[in-house]
Subunit: 216 residues, 2 copies
Amino acid sequence: MFTVRRAGYEAIMASDALSTLRRWQEDDPGLILLDINLPGTTQLKDGFAICQHIRSQSDVPIILLTVRGEENDIVRGLEAGADDYILKPFSPRQLVARIQAVLRRGRSGESASLSSRLSIAELDFNPKLREVSLASGQTKSLTSLESRLLESLMLNTGHILTTDDLISDVWGASGGNSEMLRQLVRRLRTKIEDDPTKPFYIQNVPGLGYAFRLKR
Amino acid sequence: MFTVRRAGYEAIMASDALSTLRRWQEDDPGLILLDINLPGTTQLKDGFAICQHIRSQSDVPIILLTVRGEENDIVRGLEAGADDYILKPFSPRQLVARIQAVLRRGRSGESASLSSRLSIAELDFNPKLREVSLASGQTKSLTSLESRLLESLMLNTGHILTTDDLISDVWGASGGNSEMLRQLVRRLRTKIEDDPTKPFYIQNVPGLGYAFRLKR
DNA sequence: ACCTATTGTCACAGGTTTGTCACAGGCTTA
DNA sequence: TAAGCCTGTGACAAACCTGTGACAATAGGT
């Protein structure tokens, strides 16, 4: 709260589900920081439901706050229409940076549709520009296949995608085979992994496929 | 009750069968802790009947509380549609952990259908990830055949599966033989049994087959 | 047409998983 | 007691999966 104000933004705060919705309708904020674990919420009105509800009626940017390690939360949150999320605990600087990023993007007129940006842990991936920013700070540009693969994986962070799933995601129903996928994984790894020899993000699940993993 | 509240959940309580059903319909809770030995229940409305009734109308997660040693209860409970159960007496930490696990699973969007997760006593098996968490806390990953075997066994906890049943469950109609099954059982045991020399979970039934047993 | 980046294909190495064989001990039955 | 069956066990081989390097084919821009 202090952090946000200090960065020059106006901030209002709601502490439970109902008042969140009320203040949203009354004040029409330019951006919403939404804590998944809002107190006083029944199952019917948890953070995701609120997110979805707001999104169904407005394009206001939503940033989710979630506790570290709840990988499923993130996937659900993005599916529910959130624009970005931040893992708690977070540094004030990170929070402000994300807010600015989301606002900048919103202003630039890019549609806030799915896959406009995926920011998972240290990896910041922009499918549209086909660019990833790594933890180290450097930015790599991906080829279109690499980009599609990474998008598939990140959209399903923490879930296993079978080889066939990935093949049809990347190459479509007709083309592609497991050999090509292996090569593609390899090439993507050399770009985004710290040490491609010991891949972290793109994890192989023997006999099944691959999964995108979060840093913890 | 205190434990649950302390963990940050909202809790309501019902002390007999009828009020349980009433409160369930009125409050639509996100999770139900159901004591099998509910007082004031006639035979027609025992814990299982309640469980079954609720399950028939809702996907709300249900955790059963049962007194230690009543193995039949557990099997019946799982058959009646419960998601998990906890043996009394239980530690507060365990209770909270189970609640969170069940909620997390439910939230993750995986259909609560068959084989989404099997949590029997100390063994927590996720067929999708092919992972088991042991009592000791460590997690082992299974091969695909091991996983299929364990799934078959756990889905029929307390019941005997003949050798032929298991073979066709694991290898399908065509392939597989008893020799391969013995090897597979052996390999699975070394992974999940405390002391593979004296197997507990996977019990041999001479002349018939194998059965998955619960801890007492 | 030419150059470069991207994508597809091949062959191989290492590890893991699965199948097979041989043997030992226990239990039942004649 | 001996024979026969069933189960558990160890060792080994075959099959499979994954990662890797090199190279050919293709596409896209100039």
